[in-house]
Amino acid sequence: MTGTAAPLFAGTSLNSRDRKVEWLVRVLLGLMTALLILPVVIIMALLVVEGGPVISWEFLTTRPVDGMTAGGILPALVGTVWLVVVALIASVPVGVAAAVYLSEYAPDNWLTRAINLAIINLAGVPSIVHALFGVGAFVLFFRFGTSILAASLTLAVMTLPVVIVSTRESLQAVPRAFREACWNMGATRWQTIRRIVLPNALSGILTGIILEVSRTSGETAPIMFTGAAFFLPFLPQGVLDQTMAMSLHLFVIATQVPDAPEALPFGVALVLISMVLAMNALSIAFRVYVRGRKKW
């Protein structure tokens, strides 16, 4: 080719038109980002304004009365804690084991690819399909009935990917040299994992578990038919009891109790969202703290 080829980029730092376009794009994209985030701020503000007055110590520690049009949310709060704890007991060991396998053992073969695809799908399957699975498997087939156990196991299956993915990431962040040094001392694979890999990844694993708590406590559809009740006057005594839950309670008093005072669902929503966002903020803060302390 003779002469000069048409330049791909006409702009130089002196080309003022391109500088203007760049500035415009920057402002436009910034505005769109702000518009995406603004609703959250507005929604949080509205929840605090409308729901704030409802919340009191009494609201958190008494039971709903008068057909759920008055009183507090104690059974729902306690129920959500039950559901989350049982779900964690079920999912954390399995999830951590899966992550250890994927990070420390798995060869790059079809089985590993299938596992990864299964994890993506577990996270992507609609929550109501998880609910159908919970009904079909835990409530009917294993005969747990509608109980905390059935609901928590459904939640555990659903949130398993959260534990697996975050644990795997933190295991893989441990430098390979740490493992090699340990193997060279004559340690077995498991000794290396237990003494070197897991302790160094512990904070990352905890971050993932906190995230799972946040996810689990907000889910509604999977527990609707597997263990959460519209209204129960008493607190659950064991894992085979039904229970109320914060998320379902919000749905019920917002849509099924027409004569509830207007501020009441806002109060429940505020408590629920505070729980969830506090957990998330905790996990983010924890992550930043750990990142700052990392020795390698």
């Binding site: 980029f9 702009g11 130089t12 376009v21 760049e22 794009v25 920057r26 994209l29 769109m32 980002t33 518009l35 995406l36 985030i37 959250v40 929604i43 060991p93 999830g95 084991a97 899966a98 250890v100 396998y101 053992y105 299938a114 990864n116 299964a118 993506i120 799908n121 577990l122 992507g124 399957v125 609609p126 929550s127 109501i128 399909v129 159908l132 699975f133 079909g136 498997a137 087939f141 398993l160 077995t188 498991w190 000794q191 994992i193 996810r215 889910e219 509604t220 559809a221 038919f225 998320s247 379902l248 919000l250 749905f251 917002a254 849509t255 806002f266 629920l272 969830v276 998330n280 983010i284």
Partner: protein, 313 residues
Amino acid sequence: MNPQALARSRDFDHRGRAWYADRAVTVFVFIGGTSAILFIGGIFAFIAREGLGFVFTEFDAGEFFGSIAWRPTSALDATYGALALIVGTASITGLAMVVSIPFSLAAAVFIGEFARGRVRETLKVLVELLAAIPSVVWGFIGFSIMNSLIIDVFDVPIGLNVLNAGIILGLMAAPIMTTIAEDALKAVPDGYREAAEALGATRWQVIRKVVIPAAKNGLVAAVLLGVGRGFGETMVVLMASGHSINLPDSVFDSVRALTATIAAELGETAVGSDHFRALFTLGILLFLVTFAINLAADTIMRGIRRKGERGRP
């Protein structure tokens, strides 16, 4: 053999307690690792177990996909036409994507390419918090705040409609799309950007002509996963869409979605009845569509990873 020699030979026998512990753990983590496959297979098996009984008996594909008459409780002539539910889900998801795709991609480009330092970290945290808001809270916002807002602004009798559910669902799907799209932009090697900058390109020219084309597949995967999220969302469409069987003419019409139908009716059906099994059939449909979407997104993303590996020196 003297005791010292015996001890030494034990050192060389690897089958001590540590060896057996190592074996046991290998088996245990393998079982844990394959559990995800077991669970996804189990989900399909248990839904199919209830749903296929319906598919092979009462199910009529022409009626299911061609009729809007979803009358499962009619004593004389129960019909199971899911067309209105499919159209309802599609219209809400479609509007949600119109809302969220431009904003999510814009936010991903802004956070990934323009924002720096503290602003960038703050925006990332806010997007993460946005993703954490439970769906039932979004549903409640649609049911209460958005409902009255739409009635006031557009002067329509009912604010629970496609517009309401679509906007809320769009806000809900946006953080996921933003996060994945930003990851895709981050995966473009800095060398590409530096080369373009060295040719005199402004930052926007770099993004438009180099970064976005290179990250195209990842951005498509991000959109796909957002579609999957919107398609499968339950509480928002149950609370904000109006939940009435209807082929919508405009965004101000109420509709009913597949997921919401299951959520609303499962509690009121007798276990094993046709109606119960028909709801599981809807579940099979939801499972298969989301499976296909996730598979497509994963295939596209794997393509990127492969390419990235080849390009590495």
